[in-house]
Symmetry: C2
Subunit: 691 residues, 2 copies
């Protein structure tokens, strides 16, 4: 029975009919696949191993993962995860993102203006408590409010009791609720970041490709009370790195996957959400690239945004190609039918399975009607500018903070308020000309989507065309100054109502409409989907037990896999590249951007052992958000830093396969070789290796 | 009465309430504004002046204008108009588009694979003949067919009688029909093209901007019977160029304007056509730029397409900003109302005006339903690849050529067949990897627009995702070889039906659907609009006489204006830049692309008189298609080569204004200075100046 179920589970998961012993899964740390690891790899996943992995792993609020690598709060992540911080630490004439940085002493370490890191301390299952608050007779709006209230209460109680950041996380799209408690650090300082040319050698061209030769790492240090954090929980840096066929683990914070979504939902993504998203991203990418072309200084200003948008564009393009592949759609259909068969056997007369599918399909039809408006006005796609985000928070804080915490919009609950203000009052630089370009593009995008005669478009544009309106908003606002933001937040609703700042006035003027759309989304989409998925999830548990990991939620997960190469078009790709490969590829392509190498690398080539492994791949199951994840060996030592997956892994949102799909990591040895030979970074090497 | 009508005409034209003596107008050469020129500029526009301007002006099939500048068939146009030819003459290791070219002797001149030029010989009004063929009782489909047939007959008769390329041109959106007869040349050879870095200095950033410093010129020579064409009709090259406040003329082939369109049509453009177009162009631009980043050779392959797409994207973005400007919409509404007032006075009880407006508004509602499918499948947006265009022509020629000429789809009529085959059998290089990237992007765009479950998408993708389908199509086709194209065309329908070439099979499989959409467009959009616009046009003639020029139609027009600068934000911009300005701007921006200068220019800087005027502006009325247009002084001498308009001129599709809007031209003196001092081009200088 168990075997049969496991085999069925693999089908239901929708992968390429992976065997039950596949390396699929972004596993919860409180429900790890111990049996599978024992059976397939003869590995005993012990509690102390897990505990140490949890306490040594780090989530960055800029959207990535990392891990402590010394007892003195040193942590490693990717150069591209650090980009948000290195951009904010840069200014005209000082370009840390492109040119790199190294603090030889602790005094030289640079405090990041708004980087927060979270370290998971423990997990509690609160599913029953959450579900108990929602009564069957409630209408969707009431159910949503009741659930939000109970989640808010659990979080607030936990915050009061422990002082820890406390988040209730929705798992299995509504099948389970867990409380995650984090220790958070807001004094995080930059220690080392290499030149962008070697960190993302090959740029957008080689993003999501393999072979790769990227030194995509950066080091920060966490501080408390102005002193480096001392911690016994850190990963030992391996001086050898992994060998072929080694078992490795990845601990990190995968962002989102859609493996448990129904076919109707996936088709909605394919035909509506993804085309809209790509239309939007290409619009922004064009605007940013055109801005950056105007001068080297503008290129510097736009570089971080440009990388983020290009990365998203490539990831979503891959998703779309995946969902347009009839083979993948067929697999998902087969998997859905298999769950139906299982349901029919478990509860032959129950309409639960059919009803849940029908409910989710029905939601998609409704969503079509207002998905664009909700994205444009509530998510903020019409206002691609941190300044608008600031204005909206200020306006909404005026309305929300007087309410009891559990009744507020979720982002304003007490347990999140400190983190929110940390970002809101950040002194990170904002460049008016860049904001103008971004706002022009996104206001135009708004009009393109809703039409020039739409009431909301007229309201937003206020009698001007998008370019002139963007000028007016950016020229008139004082929100670039954090002191003004603080003044308005502290002044509350009264100060907000008295403000004539054009961005505040704009955010206020559209707030009723934006909130209306949000409520509609919550009651017509979020709540009915959550209830339907909870029912499907329940069926899945009954049929297959906990052999299926939940979809990713930007919370800590454990993945595992084998270090191994793969074949493309009959050609075998080895499991790792070497430092020498970077020089070769750069020379082959004329040394032109994005295949240029930093001067330090060209000058120092002869010092390097060019056979040193540079990047390697494994079958472990990762997705966006895993960037910067520690890659560990059996001993829990850090053998690599995950930074990407290959093009075959782009469909991982929907299906896992280990035939060609791989995640890609920087080899631990390459980091040491570069730090030793090219950078004057001996203290850093010593801290990592103890030598 | 006349004065009142003229003032009203200005309003109806929808400009910024331009006085009746404004420089607006892309005038027909058989209806030039003699009175206006006499009154405002005291200039007598004589028949010989006009005749010489007509016979010396040139249209290029790559989409631009030019003019003969020597008695030996030498002609000047823009570097960016020549781009199509210089790209096709290039190959791996030889990059004429970027690196430039000069043939010091006639033997070295390079024959372009498929460049055709047309020189207008005469114009005949055939309005009555065309209208007589369409009876009031005909249904739209019948009317369309009858009109197509009579136009085809007129063209064929003219071809037979004169041997000249003969096109019936629709003017005033259906208000008049003129027969244009051209002498055509298909042996055109490249003489000179500068480096791209100076030809489009500032690249996309400075496109549609002023001040500019571009040597955007190229020279070709027309041959007949393997010998340079001898012609008395050429423009003398001015060694002094224009002075401030000079009257200048522009002869050229403006592509399309929409100044006479109704408000309903313009709003349809704003809310439907332009967003779709920008979505499409940004998609293609992203794909091309990503392809070009892969290697210097791929960058070379994609450069021409990249320039065209970026140029279109910027032009359409400007149009959208214009139509999203409430002031412009208001002007158009006022103008429409003014025509209504005039109509009410002329024919108080006639419903013609109201019916025409209602008919056009009604058409827009219908068009919404199928504008995307018709664009994707019939216009070919789903298949952005010359290979598909070739396949479609071959398939359709098999069906169309057996029919009488007047009954064929218009592009296959006898009078167009030679030009069509000239392009179809061109040996110009096609790069499979580039085609694959372009097809992947456009097939994906198809699916994004119509959805993965659409029958036509399934038919086109044939069980693959877009990337895999593009691979299959490009890997399998033999159409890269012109001999294979010829074989299929000569073999007719039988050969086409027997072909298993995947692109032929694809073109065949969707032809029924594409033709259906085309017929629907012709009968539900083109014909009803044509009839309604003819009615409006008739009213306009009655109310305002011929004081209004027709919208642009890529046929020869005459514009005129004053050489003068303008103010931006209180700052006065002089009417010309200098060679020195290019060096200054390049240095200010770190010499980085797109502000890099060719080595020849950097090395030769000291040889140049840096005060030489480089680019200048005038108020003359131009639009896309005018690229390469000769700019003439009163004596009919060439004082400049038009290459662009400024950002204020981007709304010229809809309204003319001379407050800030200007066209931009290369100063005739700058060309001579550069050719003399920097290029070893003395023979060319001698041919231009006689010295």
């Amino acid at each position: 029975m168990r075997v049969r179920n496991l085999a069925l589970a693999a089908v239901v998961l929708g992968g390429f009919a992976m065997p039950a012993t596949s390396d699929e899964g972004m596993w919860l740390l409180d429900a790890p696949p111990r049996d599978l690891l024992k059976k397939k790899y003869d590995f005993d996943l012990t509690d102390p191993w897990l505990q140490k992995a949890m306490l040594s792993s780090v989530r960055l609020n800029s959207g990535g993962s990392g891990g402590f690598v010394s007892p003195d709060g040193l942590l490693v992540t990717n150069h591209h995860v650090a980009a948000d911080a290195t951009q904010k630490l840069s200014k005209p004439g000082l370009d840390l993102y492109n040119d790199g940085f190294y603090a030889a002493t602790r005094d030289e370490e640079l405090k990041c203006p708004d980087l927060e890191i979270n370290v998971l301390q423990n997990i509690t299952d609160v599913t029953k408590e959450v579900n108990a608050a929602v009564k069957p007779e409630m209408k969707p709006g009431e159910a949503f409010a009741a659930r939000r209230a109970v989640m808010g209460k659990i979080e607030q109680d936990s915050l009061k009791a422990t002082g820890l950041r406390s988040d209730v996380v929705t798992l299995y799209n509504g099948g389970a609720y867990h409380l995650y408690r984090y220790k958070k650090f807001t004094d995080v300082r930059l220690v080392f970041s290499p030149e962008k040319a070697i960190a993302s050698f090959g740029g957008d061209v080689d993003n999501f490709e393999f072979p790769r030769m990227n030194l995509d790492v950066a080091f920060f240090r966490a501080y408390e009370n102005d002193k480096p954090v001392h911690t016994p929980n850190y990963f030992k840096w391996s001086e050898t790195g992994p060998q072929e066929n080694d078992l490795v683990f990845v601990t990190g914070h995968p962002g989102t996957t859609q493996r448990l979504e129904t076919l109707a939902r996936l088709k909605h993504r394919r035909d509506h959400t993804l085309p809209y998203t790509l239309y939007r991203l290409r619009t922004l990418e064009a605007a940013l690239s055109q801005y950056g072309m105007q001068s080297p200084e503008k290129a510097r200003q736009a570089a971080g945004d440009q990388h983020s948008v290009a990365n998203a564009r490539k990831a979503f393009s891959g998703q779309l190609q995946g969902l347009l592949d009839p083979k993948i759609i067929e697999q998902k259909a087969t998997a859905e039918a298999a769950l139906g068969d299982a349901a029919a056997k478990l509860t032959p007369d129950s309409p639960v399975y059919k009803n849940a599918l029908a409910q989710i399909a029905d939601v998609q039809l409704k969503l079509r009607e207002f998905e664009k408006p909700v994205g444009l006005l509530e998510t903020g796609h019409a206002f691609y500018s941190p300044l608008f985000g600031i204005a909206r928070h200020i306006v909404r804080m005026g309305d929300e903070l007087p309410k009891p915490s559990a009744e507020r919009l979720r982002e304003y609950r007490d347990s999140n308020l400190e983190s929110l203000k940390f970002g809101l009052f950040s002194p990170a630089p904002i460049y008016p000309e860049l904001e103008r370009a971004k706002l022009t593009a996104s206001l135009t995008f708004l009009a393109e989507n809703l039409g020039g005669d739409s009431e909301v478009v007229k309201l937003v544009l206020a009698g001007k065309n998008p370019a002139a309106r963007a000028d007016e908003l950016v020229n008139g606002t004082k929100l670039i100054d954090p002191a003004e933001r603080k003044r308005l937040v502290e002044g509350g609703k009264k100060a907000v109502d008295a403000s004539t700042d054009p961005l505040i006035v704009l955010a206020k003027s559209i707030d009723a409409e934006a909130r209306k759309l949000r409520t509609r989304y919550e009651t017509e989409v979020e709540e009915p989907e959550r209830q339907a998925y909870a029912a499907l999830s329940d069926l899945r548990f009954k049929a297959f037990g906990s052999s299926v990991a939940p979809d990713a939620t930007f919370t800590l997960r454990l993945a595992f896999g084998t270090v191994k190469g793969y074949e493309v078009g009959g050609e075998a790709l080895p499991f790792h590249t070497t430092l020498g490969d970077a020089f070769k590829k750069s020379a082959d392509l004329g040394g032109k951007e994005p295949f240029d190498l930093p001067k330090r690398w060209l000058d120092g080539k002869s010092k390097l052992d060019l056979t040193t492994p540079f990047n390697f791949v494994s079958t472990a199951d990762t997705i966006g958000g895993n960037s910067g994840s520690p890659v560990l060996n059996r001993a829990g030592e850090l053998v690599g830093v995950n930074f990407d997956r290959n093009r075959h892994g782009l469909v991982r949102n929907f299906v896992y396969t280990d035939v060609q799909a791989r995640h890609i990591a920087v080899h631990s040895k390459a980091v040491l070789e570069a730090l030793r030979k090219l950078y004057p970074a001996d203290p850093l090497v010593k801290e990592l290796t103890g030598k």
